[in-house]
Symmetry: D2
Subunit: 328 residues, 4 copies
């Protein structure tokens, strides 16, 4: 790696926070040190680029953060970065701080911003997929996804104690506006009777049939996991509709909400984030740009950023079948 | 302990489930064995007494349940037990099963039922306080309370990751319709800026002042913990009112809900439940009745059941002051 | 799937227990139901086959076990199954119970036994890789591995609190007699200064150099993660040798031991186990045999059992480099 | 509280670290602010007093530490503070930093040091009991004890998965050199067959009898919890002796070690630490000195430091009986 042109890398976290973002940041900073270049942290995502809110980072600045949820650089949505003027300010600050390249830790919205910025000002960048939703093309796992799955699964384990003790039906809403990965996997892991995801057309009738079948086989309590983005009008509406058809069901609704975004990252997320953070720095030093670093089949791969933004990981039909078989 | 009249004890769990109920049940069953009497489990609370839904229990029937949330006997609310006829059926089933005394694991509603039943049919019973709310007089801690506190505290720790990363204000609703114990203690433990409980008159103005003070001292994110039973109209209403006054706040609402009732009990709850379950059996064998077994200053104490029902543990003024000092 | 010859599948867990074995068992039983065949559980691994210790299993027999560590079928090492006579008894019992095929949940020792049994008696079987060590060829992950990684990582997080507070060096031994997967991944995830694994030649000198470098960069405490199977004589011996060279170090040794095998499985392990259990049944119904079901690049794959036994997953050089970069 | 003489309080953590020390520190600092006095943190326990290693602390310096194990001030044993010269240096530094009084967070060794220092130089101080061992007189609970109990209980839950799956006997060593509180309570909570503590004379014969009784009742696996300080020669020796008498037992030994000291504090420990930290500051402002702040029957109490050092909480005979009844 003998790219002499990159002497300083700026790193920021953008979009919704995800467990493991700190681990990725730490890896970026230590990889910079390893390859004898400087690193600087940009606070509040693109907003910090515009406001010139930055901090020099060395290997010791990122100690004891690998196990922390959230992001010490903070994150924010920046309206100003959506304007040409905002991006010009950002570029001026990059020049002023002698930043030669960027590592963008975030989701597809963040990558879109970086891509436009690159087209206008030709700033090299590599994206690192940090989002619990796992909906980014070009990587088998996004950073934070595994931790969120465990958080959801542990929460539903708790709900099941009550569901079983009271013979209740619990409808649990989990995150996932556009993607059902969290719902489908946590649903399988927590023995859900049914799972509703945005990628599938479901109906209240089918849901009721599933619950009825479940009753017939002797199950007295059930968990139904519902992704935010399912298409039947929301968890409360669904509960109401089922209650109409089955007034005898003792139904409870739980919206897991923001606890899914936080928490100390799992081992898997820490290792993934560490690998991708290093890969991003190495990629930039090899003159790569406009790419996202990801993991596929346990190998580092780089995907053109536009592909990462436009394409989407698809729900595997096998998993849906698994869910059905297990709900028997 | 030479009471020859009690040869068989029936045990049931009633009301909302709480972590540690299984540990209490296990202790009742093993204490019976230890004192050479029989034990029988009554399913679904008082409903099982009426339906004659019972199961013989021995020391091995309760193995590997000390660490499980919920209750293997299940719990239910029984409308029929509120009627004279229902209680007559229950009594007939007691006679038929040769049950000489009852251990009632539950909250004050369950104790009220037992008390009426005793007045009518003179069945000896001792109550064991199992509820996460800690609102029962006669014991320093109810079974499940400590576990619920840890569940809430860990959940808010996760929310704080996001609150800090995004500079947000989180309003978190926790359980406690009549009592603020969970809110006050978990609020202190999770560094809440303000805590709203049923026992105190609060106003949106005071809450806003607290948040403003917090901002002035340089805090950029805040957690506000709100008990279900506070008197300002609910967490969503409060959030709306604060947003009106401070449109610049980035506010999020989380209702923790039923996850607070479940989960593997903490060490404290398992030991407490074990002690109280044994104490209940020993009490019955010593001809005690109409009492609740509790712990005060780490000693077993028995409180007349009517006192346990009517009186309430009061929030300690010291704790409220602690919360205020820490929010500085 | 129209194989009429298989009407009943026997399932057993063998070798060391691993979190997720119950989830795999549950999936086998429910898949059998789904495909309208019978399933029977064999207790204590091959020993139960010899002792005819079996239990009929239906979909409700395996309820509420997906979240439990260990294996409800129990596991044991069977000396008798290593003899021809033992295997003859096992075969007789298979015939007597009308078992047409086996699902073997375990590690390579268990697969070797199944393979010999198949050669002698032509009993169709498919293996499901259940072991925390992740050292089985033919799958990206073994069942239990992800949970063990989280257990180790959380334990080292706790040790780090003390290491940091006291400026100490902790030497932590983790499982892995032949494979360094647990050590390498948990070491990266917990910010270890050095990681010793069986696959690499290490020396006390290199370890000391790493610790000295760490000191020079200002680190005051360090974690060294050591796999059971490293080649320097064991964690106590290594600690002694380092202490000789650096009497000023405040060194502590912790052997994590068997806590690594237990615990409620992670979401990842539950889903993996569910998929593989179903795949095993489907494979048998498609007349597959002598194979191991695994996951590669998130797809179900079947590997000839002899390959699964003989080959081994290799440590990725990239991960070793990641560990070195992060320890800077 | 109108003591004008105290304008600045120094706070240090000393002895072994315990979860909740940071929460206590945070409370001290915020209480100082609340009462309009200054606070200064002394690093590395008494060593920092001697080395003049101190740091000014304000309310924001202690943000986001309430949930962290260990102590951000670090802790150390100071040989020099045991000498008159060392203590003279410490006193000189107190004067130089205008520290009027001390809060000592630690165990009885730390309190002994403070007591001697006070006798020599008349520096007001109040102790806060921070140790996982719960062996300090004058408080129902020490800071860190509840968290350690949960850590041990969760670890043994994991061991039980393997014990049950393999029909094994596990001997688990837990912390407690002089006191059996951790062993006794975690043993009860994890369903131990026997518990060996320093306060009781036990014999290998009695232990074997207990294990034999357990077998006779149909238990196939057992957990024995052993405090570090039991009097039979250590967990490995005990295991050897039992194995001699029962070669058929499949015995495993686990030494839980330092994981017991770390981890995020439980809700109980955070609230306890917060209350005691505030009480210590309020005590000093009321001219109290040479006392330890503690909780008894849920009320703040102050105990003369010499009493706190010399007396010891005793194991409750009721708990020992509880353990015996449950092991039936």
């Amino acid at each position: 790696m003998t790219n002499n042109s990159i002497k300083k890398i700026g790193v920021l976290t953008s979009g919704g926070d995800a467990p493991g973002m700190n681990a990725a940041l730490r890896a970026v900073v230590r990889a910079c040190k390893y390859y004898n270049i400087s690193s600087i942290g940009i606070r509040q995502g693109y907003e910090g680029l515009i406001q010139n809110d930055m901090i020099d980072l060395g290997p010791r600045s990122v100690k004891n953060i690998i196990n922390q949820g959230g992001t010490i650089l903070k994150t924010a949505r920046s309206e100003e970065f959506r304007t040409k003027e905002g991006r010009q300010k950002a570029y001026d600050n990059l020049l002023q701080n002698e930043i030669d390249a960027l590592v963008i830790i975030g989701g597809d919205g963040s990558f879109t911003g970086a891509n436009i910025f690159h087209q206008e000002f030709n700033v090299p960048f590599i994206g690192v997929p940090g989002t619990i939703d796992n909906d980014i093309f070009g990587t088998d796992f996004t950073i934070g996804y595994d931790t969120a799955l465990n958080t959801v699964t542990e929460a539903i384990d708790k709900l099941r104690d009550t569901a079983t003790s009271h013979d209740r039906v619990f409808f649990v809403e989990v995150m996932g506006r556009d993607a059902g990965f969290i719902a489908l996997n946590s649903g399988i892991a927590s023995g859900a009777q049914d799972i509703l995801i945005p990628e599938q057309k479901d109906s209240v009738e089918e849901l009721c049939e599933s619950l009825e079948r479940s009753e017939e086989t002797g199950k007295k309590s059930s968990i139904v996991v519902i992704a935010e983005g399912e298409q039947l009008g929301g968890v409360y509406e669904i509960a109401k509709e089922v209650k109409k058809r089955h007034p005898e069901y003792d139904i409870r609704v739980t919206v897991l909400g923001h606890i899914q975004r936080g928490g100390s990252p799992s081992c898997h997320d820490r290792v993934l984030a560490s690998r991708l953070g290093i890969a991003a720095v190495e990629g930039l030093l090899e003159n790569k740009t406009n790419l996202m670093a990801g993991i596929r089949s346990n190998k580092i791969v780089f995907t053109p950023i536009e592909e990462a933004i436009k394409k989407h990981n698809e729900i595997d039909a096998e998993l849906i079948k698994v869910a059905n078989i297990l709900a028997i």
